[in-house]
């Protein structure tokens, strides 16, 4: 047993780090460090830099652009990218629908969609949740009726992240209302430009517009856009949701945020001293560092367990999701606490990194901290809430 990275892994880490240092555009990096809004253009720019290097979709099968890296190297790559800090790749493409298409899609679908996902020529969004179907996802009602060589889709999706930019949406739709609820669901790819698709933004408590409602009103979808078999969509969805195991804990991102926290705590003063020297506050940082170190080791154990390339969903992902979300939320709360009362001024214009034209109120780093704290409450809700993760642990690991 040797838990340290070996020489090859260290050389790889250094190579990745050097590439990120050299190629991540400074204006994007600054926005990430400052917690400002990273827009569509930033995400596309960065994804194309990665794609040019051949690193857009490291975890995919080699014939579709994967790198063939070991599980450990994939982990190092993500960890370094989060620490850079670079914008995360648009997960709906490279981590969600991409792997589903590779595993269950037709050859024609692979050829048509995969290269465009890797280069982010298509912006994908996810159509799973509905107003009446959150944690009980399988109760979804959006229907797809087969008519000749196409489906006619009617219904509504919600919490659709960044749908305002999307070219395509992958949807779970009901194709059989007679069957058991899990057995009447299909996985359908829908062109957002299809007649009958309407996107309506939802403003979240932090004031941002990340999520949307998407309405389908007699939308015609060619049958060739069905993934795999009709009524097998629930299996593909479970594959998709259980597939995230290298990035879900976001250890690298939390490391980067703790560094930022220490940096800002050195700038703020409490009485005579910088806040970073306040014992009570510092010990809160240390406590979260310890939690994060434990999470990192747990993450590495999960990575090591999958070094032989197993693609099975791992219920240990639920542990990573729960601890990872708790840690991120704690850090966001400490960052908010750093600026004290200057967390209060609400300055949405200061958060949009591209259009700042008036001086900030208070310290120039304060504006994004409160909105991020409120926004990050989502982390323990999306992708299966932490309570659902505990249900999964109880059932799949503990046999209760």
């Amino acid at each position: 047993m040797d838990l340290r990275f070996n020489d090859e892994e260290i050389a790889f880490r250094d190579e990745v780090r050097a590439f990120f240092n050299k190629n991540l555009p400074e204006n994007i990096r600054r926005k990430m460090v400052e917690g400002k809004k990273v827009g569509k253009d930033d995400i596309v720019t960065w994804q194309r830099i990665l794609n040019k290097k051949g690193w857009a979709v490291p975890h995919w099968a080699k014939e579709w652009g994967g790198t063939g890296w070991s599980a450990v190297k994939q982990y190092i790559f993500l960890d370094e990218m989060q620490q850079a800090p670079a914008p995360p790749p648009l997960q709906f493409g490279v981590y969600m629908v991409g792997p589903v298409i590779i595993a269950f899609g037709s050859e024609a679908q692979k050829k048509r969609f995969l290269p465009r996902i890797a280069n982010i020529d298509d912006w994908w969004c996810q159509g799973f949740s509905e107003p009446g179907s959150g944690s009980d996802l399988a109760s979804l009602k959006t229907s797809a009726k087969r008519v000749g060589d196409h489906y006619v889709v009617n219904g509504q999706k919600t919490w659709t992240t960044l749908a305002q930019y999307a070219d395509w949406i992958f949807c779970l739709v009901r194709t059989n209302s007679e069957a058991k609820k899990q057995e009447g669901i299909s996985f359908l790819l829908i062109d957002m430009k299809s007649p009958g698709v309407t996107v309506r933004p939802i403003q979240t408590i932090d004031g941002s517009r990340e999520v949307n409602e998407v309405f389908f009103d007699d939308v015609k979808v060619p049958v060739e856009n069905l993934i795999g078999e009709e009524n097998k969509g629930w299996d593909y969805a479970k594959f998709l949701l259980g597939n995230e195991r290298f990035g879900i804990a976001r250890v690298g991102l939390s490391k980067e945020r703790i560094r930022r926290l220490k940096e800002l705590a050195a700038l703020e003063r409490v009485g005579e001293k910088p806040m970073i020297e306040d014992e009570r506050f510092r010990s809160k940082i240390t406590a979260v560092e310890v939690e994060l170190k434990a999470l990192e080791m747990t993450q590495l154990r999960v990575v090591a367990a999958h070094r032989n390339g197993s693609n099975k969903p791992d219920p240990a992902s639920s542990i990573l999701k729960i601890k990872g979300s708790e840690i991120q939320q704690t850090i966001s709360e400490l960052l908010f606490e750093v600026v004290g009362p200057y967390g209060l001024p609400y300055q949405p214009a200061q958060i949009d990194g591209d259009r700042v034209n008036e001086p900030p109120i208070g310290p120039d780093y304060a504006a994004p901290l409160a909105p991020t704290f409120f926004n990050w409450r989502k982390i323990s809700i999306y992708g299966g809430s932490n309570e659902i993760q505990k249900n999964i642990i109880a059932k799949a690991i503990l046999g209760l």
């Binding site: 040797d2 838990l3 940082i285 240390t286 367990a305 503990l398 209760l400």
Partner: protein, 382 residues
């Protein structure tokens, strides 16, 4: 990066596991507790035969040259059986000080006796006032010809009531909490001027308060360079804390398993209580706490051999924090989920809980190490 055990380590784990499965049932353990010193001399012999008592010592001294991962394997198994024998006190803790401070001659004389099971060693370091400060030593060692004379008192000496020999720390120079000026001395537990008051600790193990009055130590009994002992003590304590982390993980794992079994078998309102979501989530939280602790015990084992004292200590302190918090949480939750039966002395879960809490306290509880780690700047550079 590699989390796999070697073939030898797998065999070690299997053989320890087999022995404990045979000889360490809950009732057997209760019987061992009533023997002199509160443990089984017969099992001690078995550990010697298996090579466990020789494990961490160098081959040239009569040991097996095992590394901290080997010790972790044994300690985790011991934690899962709640072993009473003074393995931690003799082999890991006092043995660690001996390994790092003893001369070739001293090691050659003592290690084979420990390895063979004929000699029990204890470390008499902490004192009534020292709490968790390893530099706080009031006991004095005054030069006396080629040797020293020791005076003062030591407290919570683990298994000090059974030890044949004691490694005693005492101040040869400086003030009570100075880092410099501490020496280490090897004395017979029966030497004139040594008085030992043994007792049981809350976890069912044993310790002693030991008073020394004019105890003479010859030149053969001086361990290492008098006055320079603290870094050696710190290193041995770091290694010992890593071992305790593993023991705690063994205990937590059992508490969790026993609780899950109970949830599946105990029926109320006509169904197994594990059907209730509120209990399922508590059980999931126990698993998370146990796995986070296991991760940190692995880190501690890996870092126990690290030569950079600051990095070693930071990582092991972090592990001790996690272990302390997880151990208390798992113990409290296991007791709660069992309801009344978990409160009884005749049921095993409470005994694991008590050991987990004792492990949190030994060498500094979670709050102590959190404050210390904070003073050291935390884990991540700004």
């Amino acid at each position: 990066m590699d989390f796999e055990l070697s073939e030898e380590q797998r065999l070690l784990k299997e053989s320890v596991g087999r022995l404990l499965a045979d000889r360490y049932g809950f009732e057997q353990r209760t019987a061992y507790m009533k023997e002199p010193g509160g443990f089984s001399r017969a099992l001690w012999k078995q550990y010697a035969e298996l090579g466990l008592l020789a494990l961490p010592f160098a081959e040239t001294d009569g040991g097996l040259g095992g590394n901290p991962v080997d010790v972790m394997i044994v300690m985790e198994a011991f934690g899962s059986a709640l072993v009473l024998e003074p393995y931690f006190a003799t082999v890991v803790l006092a043995g660690g000080v001996l390994r790092h401070a003893g001369s070739d001659k001293q090691r050659a004389e003592i290690v084979p006796k420990i390895a063979g099971g004929s000699l029990l060693l204890a470390l008499a370091h902490s004192e009534r006032q020292s709490r968790y400060d390893l530099a706080d030593v009031a006991m004095t060692a005054k030069k006396d010809g080629a040797g020293y004379v020791l005076d003062g008192a030591k407290g919570i000496v683990l298994h000090g009531d059974s030890a044949d020999k004691l490694i005693v720390s005492a101040r040869v120079a400086g003030k009570q909490r100075d880092r410099d000026g501490i020496g280490l001395f090897l004395i017979d537990a029966k030497a004139p001027g040594v008085s030992i008051r043994g007792y049981q600790t809350v976890d069912g193990l044993h310790a002693a308060e030991i008073a020394l009055s004019g105890v003479k130590v010859g030149p053969d009994g001086i361990l290492g360079e008098p006055g320079k002992a603290l870094p050696v003590i710190e290193r041995a304590v770091d290694e010992a804390m890593a071992a305790l982390c593993a023991e705690a993980v063994g205990a937590m794992t059992v508490m969790h398993e026993v609780t899950i079994d109970y949830l599946k078998t105990r029926k109320q309102f006509g169904v197994p209580i594990g059907n209730f979501q509120v209990l399922q989530h508590a059980a999931a939280d126990m698993l998370i706490a146990t796995e986070q602790a296991r991760s940190m015990a692995l880190l501690a084992a890996m870092m126990a051999g690290e030569n950079n004292a600051v990095e070693r200590h930071k990582s092991i302190a972090a592990a001790k924090i996690q272990i302390g918090r997880s151990g208390r949480f798992v113990g409290k939750t296991a007791t709660q989920l069992h309801g009344g039966i978990g409160m009884t002395m005749e049921y095993k879960v409470g005994h694991y809980f008590k050991r987990a809490v004792a492990i949190d306290i030994l060498f500094g509880d979670a709050d102590h190490h959190l404050a210390a780690l904070t003073r050291m700047g935390g884990l991540l550079a700004a």
